[in-house]
Symmetry: C2
Subunit: 204 residues, 2 copies
């Protein structure tokens, strides 16, 4: 349903429209599947609204390319060709962030994560995207590479109307506290428990 009835109407001095148009900060966490997939599904919706989509994957593997990247980048190309939807940028930490020219071959993941977050902060200030997906960004925070307080402060202070989704297990409680929407994906049953390995089209 497009418009549900809110349970409470807050005394925050905002009109319903103002409140509705507040930018959203969502966290998808838990041990189950669907955290990233649901975020990329949101990117589909946003693209359809003409939003400028930015995906930042804090994954370690350089080789890793999932189907969603191919399809969302294809949609971004479609936008360039026909004006449909919005532009799409997809950046991955694993292969070295694309905006960093120097590739020194070292694999300092902590430094790469810090640099990724610094770029995202710049983009938040510049309002580069309408929807930012910080995929698996919970891990550099959990490992202490990126400071949770700093992330929360930057998100609280972000200007304009930028939606942000952070995915990953072990989300810091301060992220959950700051988020407007938190969904926990819980694994009830998984085929790998029954000895199956991942398969093309399902896992990637």
């Amino acid at each position: 349903m497009p418009q549900g009835q809110p349970l409470v109407v807050p005394d925050d001095g905002l009109t319903t429209r103002q409140r509705r148009n507040q930018p959203l900060f969502a966290v998808h966490t838990g041990d189950g599947k669907g955290k990233s997939t649901a975020a990329f599904g949101l990117a589909l919706r946003g693209w359809n609204q003409g939003w400028r989509i930015g995906v930042f994957q804090f994954v370690k593997s350089a080789k890793w390319r999932i189907g969603e990247q191919t399809v969302l980048e294809r949609l971004g190309k479609l936008h360039e060709e026909t004006g449909e939807g919005g532009p799409v940028e997809w950046h991955k930490m694993g292969s070295g962030w694309s905006w960093i020219r120097r590739k020194d071959g070292t694999e300092d993941h902590a430094a790469a994560a810090v640099e990724g977050w610094a770029e995202i902060k710049r983009r938040l200030t510049d309002q580069t995207h309408d929807l930012l997906i910080l995929d698996e960004f919970t891990y550099p925070i959990a490992w202490g590479w990126v400071d949770a307080e700093e992330v929360v402060a930057a998100l609280r202070e972000r200007p304009g109307r930028q939606h942000v989704v952070i995915t990953g297990r072990r989300a810091d409680p301060r992220l959950l506290e700051a988020a407007d929407l938190v969904t926990e994906m819980t694994k009830v049953k998984h085929p790998m428990d029954a000895g199956r390995k991942g398969q093309r089209g399902i896992e990637w």
Copy 2:
């Protein structure tokens, strides 16, 4: 990661490859967000593999059209134009299933749900799709319109390599028992609790 290590290797006489290529039956349930969105995200991956995607939405509203439908149908058109990805069919119960010519204006949702399931059974037999998303199909089952045993039997007996995802709250225990993968999306925090209504691009 593309290939995880399974916790146990079952004594089922199958090779790893055979086991990996078994068709998947997944259920996304729970009260949280992301059940359908994650399913449509899977459709992105499947499209990218060239799979024939079939979405069947068991929702009541006729007017309802979500961004994912527009985008996935656009991807289906792209397949027709360029051969990229796979074909996409999207059917909704609310406006009357598109394969039923007669529109008598009555809104017998139980009959419509039964007809939807009958068509899906035909398509499973014919192996029409590689991925079938039965969105909110848990409800006609929960309401007794469609028999859970019959659904489970049809899914167990489906030929070939057809992946099936069922979404919705209140999933019947027999579905969960039969499923290879069950994810429960749990609402931890939702902006409607804070008096916000749904917004374009996020909720639809």
